[in-house]
Amino acid sequence: MKIVIIGGGAAGVGAAGAAKGVDPSAQTIVYTEFEDVAYSPCGIPFVHGKEIESFDKLFLATKEQYVEQGIDVHYEMTVEAIDTKRRTVKVSSEGEIGYDRLVIATGWNYDVPDIEGVDLEGIYKVKNIQSAREWDKYLDTVKSAVVVECGAIAVEMVSALVHRGIKTTVVEPGPWPMAEVVDPDIIEPVRKDWEDAGVEMMWGHRVTAFGGEGTLSHVETTAGRIPAQLAVMGTRKVPNNSLAQAAGIQLGSTGGIIIDAHGRTSVPDVFAAGDCAEIPHGVTNVPLQGLSGSHAYAQGKVAGINAAGGDREYQPVYVPWAMLAGEWMIGGISFGETTATAVGVDYVCGVTTGITRARYYPGVRPITVKLLADPKTRRLIGAQIVGGEGVKERADFLGVVARAGISIDDLATMENVYSPAIGALNEPIAIAAQAAVQKF
């Protein structure tokens, strides 16, 4: 059995390891156009922000460890075409390579606006670790930067730029940070912190051009010109699917590859996983694309297991997520009020602000929990959280609650841990659920 994997990100490496786990005799080849595989690109902003001392810390394993596992990684090799009839891929400098099973894990690209000057030097797309090393040196010379749109990576980069003392301006067509995902009341503490830190914020405005002689010197926006030595691209993630599309593999309405729960595409023996694929939402069944690294890794494992002859299903997603935004953690699952309203899903909402530890214990922080329940079934369908700590664990827990169909009434009467150093007497999830129950 020869399994070829295109892409060395979380999904590709997850697929390779899982395939070897099922069939150690399988020849497993990973092609990546980059110099490295299996590092945490999500960690790059934290190295820029000096919270993490070195890019080397972001690697999950060494190249030698992949060799020891029997995974044959071909670095800096571009797969130029897939021929699904002949079961071959065309690889730069290697020619045509046959496969028995193919896993496409080509990931994502930034949705780069088609505007003047977009190819100037000084425009940074945070993604590749080797280029991040070079950009990190450049950041030492930068006095002012513009963040172009305010998605999740942009939010982390704003914090990094502020930590480095770089004057930062955010230009975002939406009305608040991460407005495609987060409710305004949840993100408000982050926005307020940015304001206090001197970040210029231009909500409701767009970048119309990048200017400079070879290198960026200013950014044109709908609100005027901003001098800047650096522009950080914070636009949305779009699937990197030109290869799959050219091979005739079906794409969905998100632009992601259509797959089933086993990761199978529309073509026999071709699997897909990660940000290049789309997955149905557990609440609405609407397909989603561009989830987190943990989703990509888990999907990769499913595709790898099945490609090697095993049998594992991936599940529709409830998308627990969380991230650090300056001094705050934000997170949630499925819907917030904004996204539920956009889709047209009815909900009953309960919100509370509590504390993360006993009120007298050092390090206690506020935490706001918002829960959304279906008005008829009373099941949890969404949540958003902002707090000083404990957001990730609550998001993970609420993701399982939504998946299991647990009701808001059960959450309102949940038992919780009380221990002064790690948890308050009243669990904010229970209080928010009680607030929601009062509204039925």
Binding site: G174, P175, W176, E188, G204, G252, S253, T284, Q315
Partner: protein, 84 residues
């Protein structure tokens, strides 16, 4: 860009703009900017009100009709009441 992707991309964007506007008004935050040009006006003033007027059943028919992973075999999950 394929028609389903064009439809999804535009409908998602403008439904989100409308929802952001509603949330901003309700919670007292910045509202998104108003419509610019004919395309903006069509999606905001014609498509969004029609979408919001349609019952879930009809919306679901349209969503289900679009090509996507949701039409392939997946484990069944607990649907919400408004998504029959």
């Amino acid at each position: 860009m394929s028609f389903p992707r064009w439809l999804r991309s535009n409908s998602e964007h403008y439904l989100l703009c409308d929802a952001q506007n509603r949330m901003a008004r309700q919670m007292g935050f910045n509202s998104p900017t108003g419509p610019h040009g004919l395309k903006d006006r069509f999606w905001r003033q014609i498509f969004v009100p029609i979408y919001r007027f349609l019952p879930w059943g009809l919306r679901r028919v349209v969503i289900q009709a679009l090509p996507g992973s949701h039409r392939r075999p997946w484990p069944k999950r607990n649907p919400i009441s408004s998504v029959p």
